[in-house]
Amino acid sequence: MTGKSCSLTSQEILDTYFLENRARLLEIASFLDRLDRAADAGEVRGEYRRRAFEKALALLLEPGGERTKAIQLLFSDPSSEPIESALGLKATGAWGGENAGN
């Protein structure tokens, strides 16, 4: 943890934020279940957004208070060269790699 501490105690943080984050966790679980229930579930397992999402889930369990930044970096394009043209491209939320066209 590099920064300043939160103004609340652990108990206060749990009292304030547990329920809303419990609900978010269930949303994520049902999103993954929905992907598994899709007719073509077997074919999309390796899709770059799904792979990035699963790697991000593993980062949630890392200790140290820098999970948010680590997940942001995981989803980011790590390259530094400009792309030739932006025409027809839009951000998808995860970096697809050199040949993914984004």
């Binding site: 590099t2 920064g3 300043k4 939160c6 948010t68 980011s76 792309i83 951000a91 939320g93 970096w95």
Partner: protein
């Protein structure tokens, strides 16, 4: 509570939203020029838009005693149309001279393409020449880190632009540190689906401190919330922070950044 929202796209909002701002104490707003959700066909469309930003919206806001300022610029989303983009850059000075125009913005990058970079660099040159404040749009999602770094390199290469006169907007957890280390102001955007939440914004205030941070709603034509700054201030109270800290982040900081333009006056 007094609040300045330094980034709202009011041309896309209803008059009811202005009423909600007034009821909530958001009495000063600044509207950057941006992309309307479609690519414009000609320079005439930009003339109309800049007229709307400098004449129509201030009048609409004044009905509710809200002070409306704006930023004038050529956005990155339409930079691939190089010829039109350059035609627009040539018309910027006449609108930058208008009484509510605080500087050049929001300009920057969207997908980090060569044409976006060229159009951004030309506007940094214009800002340097005219000594204008700069409001920077950083790319969304996976393109943000790369784009923020390219933008900062361009800005650092222009000695006439000083970092305290630049706000780099839509910062997130992975870009705030580098922006702050380079001496720029930074903006956090409260955008329900794709950017930050009130809780994450207040986390940033706790982690990075209240210096050089401005928090905005970026309320526009997409899913967004014109009173998001009020909800974020409430998040600060929910954590037991003093009222003076909320005043600092939601009023004094945007006042100090925008106030570097002599046109920005509070009553």
């Amino acid at each position: 509570m007094r609040v300045i929202d330094p980034h709202m796209h009011l041309v896309s909002r209803t008059t009811d939203d202005y009423l909600a701002l007034a009821y909530g104490g958001i009495h000063t707003v600044a509207e950057p020029a941006f992309w309307p959700g479609f690519d414009r066909a000609s320079a005439a469309s930009f003339h109309d838009y800049f007229h709307q930003l400098t004449v129509t919206e201030p009048a609409r806001a004044a009905r509710f005693k809200i002070r409306h300022y704006c930023w004038i610029g050529m956005n990155a989303k339409e930079a691939e149309h190089l010829e039109l983009a350059r035609e627009v850059i040539a018309m910027l000075p006449q609108y930058l001279d208008r009484p509510n125009a605080l500087g050049i913005g929001e300009v920057g990058l969207n997908k980090n393409s060569r044409n976006e970079i060229a159009i951004f660099e030309e506007q940094v040159e214009l800002a340097a020449r005219r000594n204008e404040l700069l409001l920077i749009h950083t790319p969304h999602l996976e393109d943000k880190l790369k784009g923020t770094r390219i933008i900062m390199d361009i800005l650092k290469n222009e000695p006439r632009v000083t970092p305290e006169r630049v706000l780099i907007d839509h910062a997130e957890e992975h870009t705030i540190g580098e922006i702050k280390d380079n001496g720029f102001w930074y903006g956090l955007t409260l955008y329900p689906d794709s950017k930050g939440s009130p809780a994450r914004a207040i986390d940033a205030v706790e982690i990075f401190g209240p210096d050089r941070i401005c928090i905005n709603s970026s309320a526009d034509w997409s899913v967004s919330d014109p009173i998001a700054t009020l909800k974020c201030a409430n998040e600060m109270r929910r954590r037991g922070h003093p009222e003076a800290l909320a005043e600092r982040v939601f009023f004094e900081n945007p006042r100090d950044f925008l106030g570097q333009s002599p046109k920005f006056v509070l009553p």
